[in-house]
Symmetry: C2
């Protein structure tokens, strides 16, 4: 795989080009930390953007859904999608309203989503979906049987034509605004796990696993 993502007209950052990057390694880090992808497609009645769980499988983003899903069934043969994963890192409060911003890291990926047919790859994707969200969980849960496997469609999108945009650090006010006397700075934001809530239907009493107690994103 090339070190850089593929720059095309649509992956070229037109505004704040200094925030853009094509570094594959950075894209992987963002994709591995994120938990929800926003996927855009058009199956004949206009553009639709929906939130989906996902995982990175080497140089592909894998998505999944129920075979009974209306929209998924139209991906047989492949269909163009745009997949975006965004991590919100903070609110940027500048002296001027105009210079307010957010700190974030995002990846936007373009490509054809195709249906994964190989049994082994499908299984690898299932493992990735679970372990991406909760590392170690796959081995500590009942794995899919044939019926469940057949009921699930896995889509794959190559991580190739894609770009990264990152904003970090303090506000960037014009020099003339720096003495206006407002407070300026950053409010960091982080997705934080709360105390685990036991499933009331769980029949066997079981200690909360270490990977849940110590849960944090990579």
């Amino acid at each position: 795989m090339p070190e850089d993502l593929r720059q095309t007209e649509r992956t070229t950052i037109s505004r704040h080009a200094e925030r853009g990057s094509f570094c594959r390694k950075t894209a992987y880090a963002i994709l591995d930390e994120g938990m929800v992808a926003h996927v855009g497609f058009d199956i004949g009645n206009g553009i639709t953007v929906i939130p989906m769980t996902y995982a990175r499988l080497s140089d592909e983003i894998v998505l999944h859904g129920a075979i009974a899903s209306r929209w998924l069934s139209s991906f047989e043969g492949g269909k163009p999608v745009s997949v975006c994963v965004t991590l919100l890192d903070g609110l940027v409060l500048a002296q001027s309203a105009f210079s307010h911003s957010m700190n974030y890291r995002s990846v936007v990926c373009f490509g054809d989503a195709t249906v994964v047919t190989g049994k082994d790859k499908k299984q690898a994707a299932f493992k990735a979906f679970v372990d991406h969200l909760v590392p170690g969980r796959w081995e500590d849960s009942r794995q899919p049987d044939t019926k469940e496997t057949n009921a699930t469609v896995v889509l794959s999108v190559p991580i190739d034509e894609a770009s990264i945009k990152i904003r970090s650090g303090p506000p960037k006010d014009s020099i003339k605004d720096l003495n206006l006397g407002y407070w300026s700075g950053v409010v960091p934001l982080q997705l934080t796990p709360g105390a685990p809530i036991r499933d009331p239907l769980m029949e066997t009493e079981k200690a909360v696993p270490k990977y849940v107690v110590d849960y944090k994103r990579p």
Copy 2:
């Protein structure tokens, strides 16, 4: 405004219909809590999904960008978009890998994004962008001058053809899986503010405002 959002073919929830809703009030609550919208559009080179800040202005979602932005300039006259706001509330760990899920609340909105031209409405949108992220901040910052106002394009999308999807609560394993002996339950997730970081370039020393110290989402 009708109490319910408009149900059409594309806003009809095909899977897990029990998670769907068209309640306008609920949609507003999700939109008011969220901070990033994922916006899908096609300006001639395929579907693109990008993250944007936004605000709700009564029954519209307003978006904004620089007038110099390549893609924004093509919205003159209106262009269809899909706008999705997702709040991630938790990870759902079931006995079976197949029943793993996420707790979330999302709104998907379809409509034509049109350029806001009225000066007053544009100003109202600017206020909404800032106060949506940090309530009270607009009055405590320098407001946009004519040059900044003219350099910014505001888009409006009606909150009309839209749907909500919500998953909450414990895992939903099959009865036969409840005694498998794994731990099952929910790991709640919340976007949490950290300690504010002062802008090193701020020239006047100023206490951190109360709306920053006490920061939390609605």
